[in-house]
């Protein structure tokens, strides 16, 4: 089957000035975005931020009011839509597949619609860990197994771009780990993955880049690290000290940050700009082992998210 993807390493998904109105409601407002091939890209935002609409437009389910969307260099609507869609895999949020079919029959059905080889169904089920249940009717599947089946369906036809909406819903921690391991395997094969999740801590370590959406606009795009830098959110230090050392350490830290740290019974707490990180550590060095313990906390993706989304 011919791929619609250009041979060069151009963007897998590219959006130019994409907007969507529903009457007076501006669901998506002037989005520009390029997602390179082989990237795992996260899309996060509050409910109603425009994520779902953006997702549906990228899949060609909803027509953009304005702007252009190319997936694999081709439009997912209009004349070439069949070829373009064969290269997509989609797992909708909370999808309920057909209870009366078995896992294998479900995949046969979707493989036929996608013109994917039938022989691919069994290996795909094995890949998501459903080899033991392929002949059982879906009605007997647990929530996690149903989610895996939905994921398996998205993998049919060896898609070049995967759209996964809340893919780890209902998965246990081990299954989540397996799921991301599978994604990394796909990434190594050059597959681009666009993923949404409400569990920001889960995405934090696992996406290459992410976009934060709010009020129909993309407020920020970048790696988690870059977004942290951009928000200029303070670092948090917590020091365990003997009572006798607290005043001296507090004074040394105040000279660096310009503000007195907060004392508590066992030590000091301090918030400082990321730029002062090394200066703070240097100020602590003379105290040596008298600093009994030190915890430093980077702002989490959640902090970053609220920094941009609110």
């Amino acid at each position: 089957m011919a791929s619609t993807f250009p041979a060069n390493d151009g963007a897998a998904v590219s959006l130019r000035g994409v907007s969507k109105h529903y009457g007076a409601l501006q669901a998506v407002d002037g989005v520009d975005l390029d997602i390179p091939r082989g990237e795992i890209f996260g899309l996060i935002g509050h409910n109603g931020a425009g994520k779902s609409t953006l997702f549906k437009m990228m899949l060609g389910l909803v027509e953009a009011t304005r702007g252009e969307i190319l997936v694999g260099g081709a439009s997912v609507r209009g004349r070439g839509f069949r070829a373009a869609r064969r290269d997509l895999g989609y797992l909708p949020e909370n999808v309920v597949l057909y209870d009366n079919l078995s896992g294998l029959e479900t995949l046969h059905f979707f493989a036929r619609l996608k013109h994917a080889p039938r022989a691919q169904c069994q290996p795909v089920l094995e890949r998501v860990g459903l080899a033991h249940a392929l002949d059982r009717p879906v009605r007997e599947y647990s929530k996690g197994m149903r989610q895996r089946l939905g994921f398996a369906q998205a993998l049919l036809g060896s898609p070049r771009v995967l759209f996964l909406d809340e893919p780890t819903n209902g998965l246990d921690p081990q299954a989540i780990r397996d799921f991301y391991a599978t994604l990394r395997g796909l990434q190594a094969e050059g597959v681009t993955v666009i993923i949404t999740s409400h569990i920001l801590a889960e995405l934090q370590e696992r996406v290459d880049r992410l976009a934060i959406m709010s009020a129909g606009k993309i407020q920020a795009v970048g790696s988690v690290h870059a977004l942290r830098e951009q928000t200029q959110m303070p670092l948090a230090f917590e020091l365990q000290l003997g009572a006798e050392d607290i005043p001296a350490v507090a004074q040394a830290l105040e000279q660096v940050t310009g503000a007195p740290p907060e004392a508590f019974s066992g030590g000091l707490r301090l918030h400082c700009p990321r730029a002062q990180k090394m200066a703070v550590l240097a100020a602590l060095a003379p105290f040596g082992a008298r600093v009994r313990d030190l915890k430093m906390q980077e702002p989490s993706l959640e902090d970053v998210f609220f920094g941009f989304a609110d």
């Binding site: 549906k56 899949l59 060609g60 389910l61 909803v62 839509f81 069949r82 070829a83 869609r85 064969r86 997509l88 989609y90 797992l91 909708p92 949020e93 909370n94 999808v95 309920v96 597949l97 057909y98 009366n100 059905f109 979707f110 036929r112 619609l113 996608k114 013109h115 369906q153 759209f163």
Partner: protein, 271 residues
Amino acid sequence: MELTQILTIAAKEFRDRMRNRWVLAVALVFTVFSLVIAYFGGAQQGAVGFRSIEFTIASLVSLVIYLIPLIALLLGFDAIVGERERGSLDLLLSLPITRFELLLGKYLGLAAALTLSTLAGFGLVAVLLSRQMNWAGMYHYFGFMLSSVLLGLAFLSLAVLLSVLARDRTRASGLAIATWFFFVLVFDLLLLGILVGSGGRFGGEAFALLLLLNPADVFRILNVFSLEDVRTLYGLASIVPPSMGSPAIMGGVMLAWIVVPLGLANWRFKP
């Protein structure tokens, strides 16, 4: 338009109805009701046992006019809204398939299930009664079976339209029941009311054309007119103009009742 996509959807719908024994159950309902009507239909007149094929068909028409629209509406009301509610509609539409192919595939699959159960149910009755039927009787009975299939397909088309329009399954089922009430129970009463209330001023051929606005009435006319000796059993027959006696014309009207709601459904079908 890609035929394979339509057939894949249709085959799944059909197989679902075979597998959950829907086709078997409905065929049995048709067979049992028909046999009961054939043998005990004359009980009110003090006779039990098979009478004439014309009489049997006339009784069956009265049964089918209630039963088939209901079965067809119940079969089709969640065709689209069911997929929408379970979240699989977006998934299907993200595949290389058009909305029209999906809609037509759904319709054809359900239509095949309904047609098979209708033909099997009434066909079995024909076999059981074959000794009592002459060729003319067979011909009339075949016409009855065919028109029953068309009646089912027309109401199935309406059901698919409701399924596209309704926001959720609950509303769709409510609309399906309301549609049944309207066409099967209310419509004729309404016409009769207008006829009587206006003192006959709205009578005549033009008025009879209003009957074409109800597929159940089209079905009735199709069957009543093919049986000269049962025409008198129905008061309606006296107001129907002769042009409506043509099976070809009435068959065409029935086809319109299949095509138009499906066309509207396709027009209103948004993801």
